[in-house]
């Protein structure tokens, strides 16, 4: 069994919420105990709505969000790091192995730098090349892979559309040769016709460069198509992890079921789904006790209010965090 690329155990991320004179300061538990393994070479999907903590998880793995307790480790066979306790030198090496693609293509590129400089920046900062010619070569190489016109390298970002900017963003993330890339809502801000283009590009790049991609999105249909494994989050905890076909064919967790049934399908004659959730998403600063989903769960029992469910394996290769998942009627 190959070691997973990323191993997360008991990860919690707390953000302080102001101060109190007496007693402990209230915290926002953006992540409240995550156990997850991301296998090498996978196109791993992470879905959730607002307050789920999916963006925080992506950033915590990259050490761009605090790791309050728990461990996150990276092991690609050549180097291994414990993210929470890296020293500065290890962190610099890690930065060349793990990168981030942002959501907003308009904010992710400095408007004052040419495209060539934007893509070259990681190489220059990390000192991975020894001459300008070498940098130029690598920039050109990755630009070609991302299907960017080489003529455009002289231009500034304001010359490009959203889809093209996202490709520049991807090129910048990949130029240092990382093994692990977090795509944080990278297609959410794009038009539908462009989304498909970028998704196909990411898939092609993953195969070409043997990448492991963590694809964070709120859009389940996009995740369904592109990812091989999907993890569903709700209010800072994982509720279900499964291979993507299994998740969509046989969702186990009540939240996953509700999420799937809420997606508007393109078939106008599809029968209306049963699982309409009531109520609002609770605030992550003040989560419900026990199973965080119990306030909106149609199957909640007394036990759900008191005990936090842990992820348990199902027979078809997935995991579910629900006390009563075995007893639920088939969806």
């Amino acid at each position: 069994m190959t070691t997973p690329l990323i191993r997360i155990k008991g990860l919690e991320t707390h953000y302080p919420l102001g101060q109190r004179l007496f007693g402990p300061a209230p915290v926002l538990k953006a992540l409240a105990g995550i156990d997850l393994d991301i296998p090498a070479g996978s196109f791993f999907g992470l879905v959730g709505e607002s307050g789920s903590g999916k963006t925080t998880l992506g950033r915590a793995i990259l050490k761009a969000a605090p790791i309050t307790t728990g461990s996150v480790s990276y092991d690609d066979g050549q180097s291994a790091f414990d993210i929470g306790s890296m020293d500065a030198r290890q962190e610099r090496t890690y930065r060349s192995r793990a990168q981030l693609i942002f959501q907003d293509p308009y904010a992710a590129l400095s408007p004052r730098m040419t495209v060539r400089d934007i893509i070259a920046e990681p190489l220059e900062v990390m000192g991975l090349t020894s001459s300008r010619a070498e940098t130029d070569d690598r920039v050109r190489e990755i630009a070609k892979k991302c299907r960017l016109n080489l003529e455009h390298l002289r231009r500034f970002p304001h010359a490009f559309s959203g889809g093209q900017r996202q490709r520049i963003s991807i090129a910048r993330a990949l130029v240092s040769g990382p093994k692990f890339v977090v795509a944080d809502e990278s297609v959410a801000a794009l038009d539908v016709s462009i989304q498909a283009d970028i998704l196909n590009l990411l898939k092609a790049l993953q195969k070409d460069l043997s990448l492991t991609l963590l694809f964070i999105s709120h859009d389940l249909s996009v995740v369904a198509h592109s990812c091989d494994t999907v993890a569903v989050m709700y209010l800072g905890r994982l509720v279900e992890v499964a291979p993507s076909r299994t998740l969509f064919a046989r969702p186990r967790h009540p939240y996953t079921r509700a999420l799937l049934s809420a997606i508007p399908t393109l078939d106008p004659d599809a029968p209306p789904k049963m699982q309409r959730l009531t109520g609002e998403i609770p605030s992550p600063a003040d989560p419900p006790p026990g199973c965080r989903f119990h306030t909106r769960c149609p199957f909640a029992q007394a036990r759900c209010r008191q005990e936090v469910p842990e992820l348990a394996p199902t027979q078809d290769g997935g995991q579910v965090a629900c006390h009563f998942w075995k007893d639920l009627p088939d969806a």
Partner: protein
Amino acid sequence: MTDRTVTTSVADREARRKEAYFTASQSQLIWARFRKNRSAMVAGIVLAAMILLGLFADFVGPYNPTIAGRNADYTNGAPQIPRFCDDDGCSLRPFIYGTKRERSIATNFRWVTTQDTDDKRYVQFFVRGDSYRFLGFSANLHLFGVDNGYIHLFGTDDAGKDIFSRTLHAIRTSLAVGTIGVVISFVMALAIGGVAGYFGGRIDGVIQMITDAVRVVPAIPLFMALAAFVPDTWSAETRFFFISIILGLIGWPTLARRVRTHILVERNQDYVLAARLSGARPGHIIRRHLLPSFTSYIIVDLVISFPYMVLSETALSFIGLGLKDPVNSLGVMLQNTTSADVLLNYQWYFIPVIFFVTLVMAFVFVGDGLRDAADPYASSRK
């Protein structure tokens, strides 16, 4: 055949224009936008003209603005506008009339100055006159003068000093005070505001308190105290530098706050985070991302705070707490205008006011134009 070449050249030009737009850097875009703003361009030209007048004040002004260059025979004299024609006919060269000063029983024994229409004095260009120092050289070339006697385009004051020359030198002094003050403010604001914005947290809090404390210091009492403290033995030049430095030292809080805000905003941009996730050190981020991001805003801030410096200096000099004779500034010139005599009889003392207003407004329009040109970039989206 001609048709096709015509259309391809139109298409070529269009393509080149587009390519120019695509490869235009931030500053080129801002300049292009600024150029389209007509009022800002006009103000810019006026501002440039005034700066040149100030820099070359010794050359453009015909006389030394201090007591040394005064015309004792023509005190409180009205402006002498050159004319081309009069009753005797016209001439190509402009001329003015000479003046005579006499006292007699007919005038109740008061000195009265009259124009002598027979005494024509022709205006000449590039004449040699009072000497002055320019860039370390001694020179005495002036733009214009008359072949005989004096010419006072804006009249004279009660000591006979030429108001036109004094106005030009006053522009120079005010600009110099403004420049020194703004430079000092800017350097301090950049350092203090930059540290506060970049590090945030407790450091920011402490710096904010200091900034507010300095900002609250009232200017007039401060200058009154300083005026009492400044020893009389200081030369006018020393006093001049002292005033400029003090203006700079109390002017930095506003600019510092702006620098801090700019940095706080830019620090949280996605592309800065991208640089940080590549392992960039703070120095790289500041140099490559933060500083260039607000250079355009800072230039706007500088241009807009210039008139405030000029205004402050003018106000202080006007009430006597700032510069004094013989160092000449607009405020100093306005000191003499507060008597009824001047208001009723010698209205030309107020001509410098027009220059002053023009200078401030030119700065304001240019600053506004720059700000409009720099701003829309941030919000231009698909």
